[in-house]
């Protein structure tokens, strides 16, 4: 068992501690089984974060991957932006200021 660092809501705090296996495990914890479509969004979030400096918003994911917002709601029901960030091992998206 490797240890990981999370915040009080369970979001990973270390970008480098994430792995694809861990993602599957995190997803399972919130009742999601990852399909190719889920992975498309997750991989985008992972790739975007280092250059962008923060977790992509739902709109950013949608515009830059071409996945409709509606689809993201189906894949990550309820609170897609938070759930995607959680599975991708990124900080909870800042509710804008």
């Amino acid at each position: 068992m490797t240890t990981i660092h999370v915040d009080s809501e369970g979001f990973l705090t270390e970008y480098g501690e994430w792995s694809e296996d861990l993602a599957a495990e995190l997803a399972a914890r919130i009742g999601i089984e990852l399909t190719d479509e889920h992975w498309k969004a997750i991989r985008f979030l992972r790739a975007d974060y280092p250059s962008h400096g923060e977790t992509a918003t739902l709109r950013r994911v949608s515009v830059l991957t071409g996945m409709p917002i509606k689809q993201l709601f189906t894949l990550f029901p309820g609170k897609p932006a938070k759930k995607m960030a959680y599975v991708a091992g990124l900080p909870k998206p800042r509710g804008c200021v």
């Binding site: 709109r59 609170k79 804008c96």
Partner: protein, 415 residues
């Protein structure tokens, strides 16, 4: 001659132009400002338009607000070519630059939500972020027979993120004064998970909504408006009916920024959050609402960050390292109705906290607490805006946030 071109002569563009004109030699620097519209609108005043019988005077000529020695071009910026360093106007004119400051702000875009524009626009579906919109809200409130008023935000970020809450408080007080509060149900619908973005202020403002019997619907991301059925429909298929809808449409930066490749998915220009320099092009800076800074889009931010920007810009054009750092400082008066208001003060790292805000001989003002003084502060701001802020004079408030007077509450926050 070295050429500085500033796109947009709103709050940030005007301040920056006036400050720099005083600091850059007239015989060495040409400063050109471009705006589509010859009149400058005092946007914070829009909040009060729906509740006043006579529209207040919120417009002034842009020319009169710019110092002598600044060239003002009236025209729509249609395209930007950062390779050749030219700006193309919609009427075909081309303006070249050595340094570019983007200050085109952000605008409400009702066209971005299906069903928003149409025969019901400015009839049962309203916005108050434009002058015409605010006037239409006034007429709708005057003739409202009672029913459900829904105040709604499409998505963040929006400029002045507290404005829709303020509108809600003012509308509640308005119906109470008219003696018809019991005939009006008020619902505040937000894409956020609480009344506001930051936890302490969100709990605090949430409590104020609660006390006033204003229902809050959170995590609601609108997909479309069914104007015929007078219903908001979210992506997760929740529905909220209304008799009168006052919405804040999606806010977006200018389209030419997206088209030129300089803007992000909402046409905001990615900048270094300490210096406001464009990440993509070092000779380009973006000030005010037009950039992607992770702080509020507000006049106060435009003001504090402009002071930092001006000092850095002077170093930059001199070939020196930029040594000034913006901390994300923002402060906003929040109208809460009945002639009272709150004040919030925060930056990138510190959320709005309760306490007191020192203000020279005038202060202190209370933070996160409803007082009459805060309401008067908000009203006085209009004079300050025209006479001190836009001319680029120094205000007696530091541009960096200070912890003096603030305290972090325990679990309980009491109004």
């Amino acid at each position: 001659m070295r050429r500085l071109v500033i796109l947009g002569a709103g709050t940030a563009g005007t301040m920056v132009a006036n400050k720099l004109r005083r600091r850059l030699a007239l015989d060495e620097w040409q400063i050109t400002v471009i705006d589509r519209d010859p009149e400058h609108l005092y946007q914070p005043g829009l909040l009060f338009v729906p509740f006043e019988p006579e529209p207040p005077d919120l417009l002034k000529s842009r020319r009169g607000l710019l110092r002598r020695g600044i060239q003002l071009l009236i025209g729509e910026v249609g395209a930007l070519d950062t390779e050749n360093k030219t700006v193309r106007l919609a009427d075909g004119g081309v303006v070249g630059y050595d340094y570019l400051v983007i200050a085109t702000g952000t605008s409400p875009r009702p066209d971005q939500t299906p069903g928003m524009l149409g025969p019901q626009w400015h009839r049962s579906i309203h916005d108050f972020y434009t002058y015409d919109g605010a006037l239409a809200v006034r007429d709708a409130l005057q003739s409202f027979p009672g029913g459900r008023l829904v105040v709604h935000v499409v998505d963040q970020p929006i400029k002045c993120p507290v404005a829709p809450l303020e509108f809600t408080f003012l509308a509640e007080a308005f119906f109470r004064r008219r003696g018809m509060r019991d005939q009006v149900e008020i619902v505040y619908v937000t894409p956020l998970d609480g009344a506001f973005t930051k936890p302490v202020a969100s709990r605090f403002l949430g409590r104020l909504l609660d006390e006033r019997k204003i229902a809050v619907e959170t995590d609601f991301l609108v997909e479309r408006i069914d104007a015929e059925r007078k219903t908001l429909v979210s992506y997760d298929e929740r529905e909220i009916g209304y008799d009168l809808l006052v919405t804040v449409p999606l806010n977006m930066g200018a389209d030419f920024l997206g088209d030129s490749g300089l803007g992000d998915e909402l046409n905001y220009v990615p900048v270094d959050k300490r210096t406001l320099q464009s990440i993509a092009h070092p000779d380009v800076f973006a000030v005010g609402d037009a950039n992607d800074l992770p702080t509020s889009k507000a006049g106060s931010v435009a003001h504090f960050s402009s002071e930092i920007f001006v000092e850095n810009f002077l170093q930059y054009v001199d070939g020196r390292a930029m040594t000034h750092r913006f901390d994300g400082h923002a402060n906003c008066f929040v109208e809460t109705g009945d002639g009272k208001g709150l004040l919030i003060d925060f930056n990138y790292d510190t959320e709005p906290l309760p306490g007191r805000y020192p203000l020279g001989r005038l202060g202190p003002l209370s933070l996160l607490r409803e007082t009459k003084a805060n309401h008067w502060g908000k009203l006085a701001f209009r004079w300050i805006y025209w006479h001190l802020l836009l001319p680029g004079r120094r205000l007696p408030v530091p541009n960096k946030m200070s912890m003096t007077g603030k305290h972090r509450p325990g679990e309980e926050v009491r109004p």
